[in-house]
Symmetry: C2
Subunit: 203 residues, 2 copies
């Protein structure tokens, strides 16, 4: 899709996107003006409007691109492990979890800024939707019978999706102190076993 594009266009848009990320990191999203962005990108302000409607449009398109890359890189599961993944060992890292953390690490600058800065529209919700779909299908495969869930299905999906997203944010905030494999293992364990090794309430 970018093959037939004028290299100047590609360069200009990349300059604008990088400028946005850098400026959000420095002064937060809300205070940024189109003037700031074009100045940082060493472009004329009118040039901005040749490519994006406004600041929000630039953010949307950058977000869409990053999230689309993420989904594409995760979607194809390795075929030979399919059956294994349907019933993963909870002490073994889930393959999709690992892909998720690895892909985020590859683009960590953008993810850290877009997920941890305050009041960035769209990106967090977009990623949450992706995780919701993942969690939803995961629970559906593990337990199709609503009666065998501890809480209403939709509540459980939202519960774990938000929890997973928060752990990703925590990981980025702390500059990725653990490997993707470790993180995937941790998420699997806390989801299945809960917070305590010896459940204090029973057994």
């Amino acid at each position: 899709m970018s093959k037939k594009m004028d290299p100047r266009v590609i360069r200009t848009r990349q300059l604008l996107r990088d400028a946005l990320v850098a400026l959000i990191d420095e002064q937060g999203y809300e205070k940024i003006t189109v003037q700031d962005i074009t100045q940082r990108a060493t472009l004329n302000r009118a040039t901005f409007y040749l490519h994006y409607r406004d600041k929000l449009d630039l953010l949307y398109q950058s977000s869409e691109e990053a999230l689309h890359e993420l989904v594409s890189s995760i979607h194809p599961p390795s075929e030979e492990k399919k059956d294994f993944d349907l019933l993963p060992n909870y002490e073994q890292p889930h393959e999709t979890f690992m892909h998720l953390f690895e892909q985020i690490a590859l683009n960590s600058k953008l993810y850290k800024v877009y997920l941890t800065e305050k009041n960035i529209p769209y990106f967090s919700d977009g990623l949450k939707d992706i995780i919701i779909n993942f969690v939803s299908s995961g629970i559906q495969v593990m337990e199709p019978d609503d009666q065998k869930l501890t809480v209403p299905r939709e509540m459980a999906v939202r519960f774990y999706a938000a929890a997973f997203l928060e752990v990703i944010v925590w990981w980025l905030e702390n500059d990725m102190p653990y490997t993707p494999k470790f993180m995937a293992t941790q998420l699997m364990r806390i989801t299945i076993k809960g917070p305590y090794i010896d459940n204090p309430f029973e057994r």
Copy 2:
């Protein structure tokens, strides 16, 4: 504190706060101007600046007030149940959870708008901090030994705090379809037992 205030001031500020909530609900936070707010409140625009620095300051003060009310209403635990709450039955609703949902229900219009509308600064984070403190002390009481947690303590705290907040948002988005008691019971159960009644991984 509001005893010695001119009743006109109280009236004016309440008009502005109500106008903000209504306008966020109608057109979202970002598009709102100070002009819009004062027009809706039937006040002169210059009057706004006698009370608040800008739109964000109005939101902050409204948020602070609501969150302070929430903390105050939750903090005093009923004395006679103290020992019981330290080791709650997981099929019994946790008293603090119930207070949380009940207090939110009392001010549900503001909570729904401030928590479910996109890009409302401060409020979600403020409530998340409150829940983090609550979760953190809860886990600390249940299990002071890091070795007996399934994952790093800070990760577990963030995991459950975000999950609880998401369930609150889900509850508000769906116009509170369950009672506070039911919600508190569900949260307790999914936290301790995980998503599945019969753990498919062991036993």
